[in-house]
């Protein structure tokens, strides 16, 4: 579709990117002196903003040029440069407008908080990610797969239960959190259960869909070999179901972390990223709040990537 120049012009790209990045970093440093304002609103925000926008545009040109071609840098530089430039621009803009930390912290403040609160955030992440999200994810997946196998074997169950599962999957599960926490308690277990329930339905629905996706030609082939039901399952049904299951898992992975955090808003025993966010919001420690969000985000992406990696390992050559 897009007619892009075939000649990589990385050299020019580096120039534009470097200039833009250095400019934005310089602006931020210049503006650093303008901290601790008496009130919202800068001296000359318009002027600063024009500068920031101009540098961003320059960076955009650089990003465009660096994205040409098929080399490794052409595939990695643009995304990295986008992040770096946007972070720098946010830093400069927030400083130009002298936005207080209690409202939106500058990226540098968030980085500082990330470092200063590293042990606390590490413990919180451990609770939220490992015990709530990951455990709930595993339980929900296993339950979903089990139910899927069961309902594929028992047609009655499939026809009676699955329509409800599909309906339930369009129910906002957050509404469940207060009730589960009330019934189960404030500890980690209630969050694990909530995550498991949110993972269960998509896995169940996709697994059943996948188990039915086997091509009839393949099934006929197995039939012609007089293969047993177990063999047919192992060699045809299960492999054709896997891509569907992995699609559900990839969606569910980051979602399980987010749901664990949401569930923590409804009660904790004093641990977890959701708990930390609530506590720090109360103190207007928004730098720590954003640090927690960054941690959650990085964990969510990593979880997603790991699932994708496993998928590629298990389904070689299918993607």
């Amino acid at each position: 579709m897009s007619l892009e120049r075939p000649v990589p012009r990385l050299a020019g790209a580096w120039g534009a990117l470097g200039l833009s990045g250095l400019g934005l970093a310089g602006l931020s440093l210049l503006l650093a002196r303008q901290e601790a304002p008496a009130q919202l609103g800068p001296a000359q925000p318009g002027l600063w903003l024009v500068g920031i926008t101009a540098l961003l545009l320059l960076g955009a040109v650089g990003i465009r040029q660096s994205a040409q071609g098929e080399g490794h840098p052409a595939r990695t530089v643009p995304a990295a440069a986008t992040l770096i430039l946007l972070v720098l621009a946010a830093e400069a803009a927030l400083r130009a407008y002298a936005v207080p930390t209690g409202l939106i912290p500058t990226p540098s403040k968030v980085l500082e908080a990330l470092w200063a609160a590293r042990t606390v955030l590490w413990r919180d992440a451990l609770t939220t990610f490992v015990y709530e999200a990951l455990l709930g994810f595993v339980i929900g997946t296993l339950l979903g797969l089990g139910l899927a196998l069961l309902s594929v074997r028992l047609r009655f169950l499939e026809r009676g239960l699955l329509p409800y599962a599909a309906l339930l999957s369009s129910v906002p599960i957050v509404a469940l959190a207060p009730v589960v926490i009330k019934a189960v308690g404030l500890g980690v277990a209630s969050k694990t259960i909530i995550v498991a329930v949110t993972v269960l339905f998509p896995v169940l629905i996709n697994a059943v869909r996948g188990l039915h996706s086997a091509q009839s030609m393949h099934l006929d082939l197995m039939h012609s070999y007089a293969a047993s039901a177990a063999q047919t399952f192992r060699d045809v049904r299960w492999p054709s179901a896997l891509p569907f299951v992995f699609t559900a898992l990839r969606v569910a992975a980051p979602l399980s972390l987010i749901n664990a955090i949401v569930a923590e808003f409804f009660g904790t025993e004093g641990r977890g990223l959701g708990f930390r966010i609530q506590i720090e919001v109360g103190k207007f420690g928004l730098d720590v709040v954003w640090a927690a969000i960054v941690v959650a985000s990085v964990l969510g992406i990593s979880f997603y990537l790991v699932i994708s990696l496993i998928e590629r390992r298990i389904l070689p050559g299918r993607r």
Partner: protein, 353 residues
């Protein structure tokens, strides 16, 4: 002829604003700290009785859930707000230019409640117990109280083995009490009655009022942003922000004075305004009864301290100083707030005192 008519119409339109400046009401958004309930009776009364209008103000009262009103005011989404002093001072520490202008409640209504059967007789007994607190900035009275008795909580991330296990939950005491915690947070005017509604009549409860133990962290106060106070012509009203603030405080205090004197009437004004939050819980799930309780309790918080000396709305400097000391003690404040944190001139202009 036509041309002339048009011209005169234009002239009239141009003249209008100056003529209307006296009669046109200035729109004001006042951010309450919670959903509508008798906790804010004074403001609702001022609204219903036309006290705001008499001051030339057209006030919209905004409700909020468990967030801080500070942010809505600091960003200009609201012009004025009510909040707790802890909230205001921590916000200022983080660079949010908000200013205290009037103190409505002169006494803290924060309590920790336990069952008498659990044999917790004094704060020292809290050691090793489980305490339920509300996150998002409402946990500090509890922390300060515990701190006073050298107890540490799991809310403090620097403490390796806390002597009290704190749990967080979203306000509803029935989620945790009494099976999941030994002590539960409760405001005298709200949750105490809710707990009673769960089937624990007051004689079965032991109520530790923070104020009884010298932890009198002030609650509902009125504040605004520095920007509003510095405004020379607030929203084109021709009046300065300070003058508007003074009028708002004057009308609000008038409302409050009326509400605490005529509690039944105030409750009747509040009832149609609050939705599902009006009702208590359990056996006391009756909106009117619960709001009547609330009004009576709130009146006690209003009629205390400076109010008793005829200075309703005044922030007693001694109380303020002890509040700051408390918050520094629990590590929430790193230093004394700048002098600009409290602006007494608004209250003085409002009360002519």
């Amino acid at each position: 002829m036509r041309k002339f008519a048009l011209l005169s119409a234009l002239l009239a339109a141009a003249a209008l604003p100056t003529v209307q400046a006296q009669t046109k009401l200035t729109p004001i958004r006042l951010q309450l700290k919670w959903f509508p309930q008798a906790q804010f009776a004074g403001f609702f009364v001022a609204q219903a009785k036309g006290y705001f209008k008499a001051e030339g103000l057209d006030v919209t009262l905004l409700p909020i859930g468990d967030q801080s009103p500070i942010q809505t005011v600091a960003t200009g989404a609201a012009d004025f707000g009510t909040t707790w002093i802890t909230d205001l001072l921590t916000a200022r520490q983080q660079g949010l230019p908000v200013v205290h202008i009037a103190q409505i409640f002169q006494k803290s209504g924060f309590t920790l409640v336990s069952l008498k059967a659990s044999n917790i007789a004094k704060p020292a007994d809290f050691k090793g117990k489980r305490v339920g607190v509300w996150p998002s900035g409402n946990e500090y009275p509890a922390i300060a109280l515990l701190k006073k008795y050298n107890l540490t909580t799991s809310l403090d991330s620097t403490v390796a083995s806390p002597s009290v296990q704190a749990v967080t939950y979203p306000f509803d005491p029935s989620i945790v009490f009494p099976d999941k915690v030994d002590l539960v947070s409760a405001m005298t005017y709200n949750e105490v009655d809710q707990i009673a509604g769960l089937g624990y009549s007051l004689d079965k409860l032991r109520i530790f009022r923070a104020s009884d133990y010298g932890i009198n962290l002030l609650e509902d106060l009125m504040f605004t942003s520095q920007k509003t106070l510095d405004d020379k012509d607030f929203k084109g009203s021709g009046l300065s922000g300070k003058e508007i603030a003074a009028r708002l405080v004057r009308a609000s205090l008038k409302g409050w004075n009326y509400a605490v004197k005529n509690q039944a009437e105030a409750v009747n004004i509040v009832l149609p305004l609050c939705g599902n939050t009006c009702k208590g819980s359990g056996t006391r799930a009756d909106a009117k009864a619960h709001q009547t309780w609330q009004m009576a309790e709130v009146a006690k918080l209003y009629n205390a301290g400076a109010t008793l000396q005829g200075k309703a709305g005044y922030l007693d400097p001694a109380a303020y100083k002890s509040n700051v000391a408390l918050l520094k003690g629990v590590g929430l404040l790193k230093a004394d707030p700048a002098a600009g944190a409290v602006d007494y001139s608004v209250w003085e202009a409002a009360t002519k005192k």
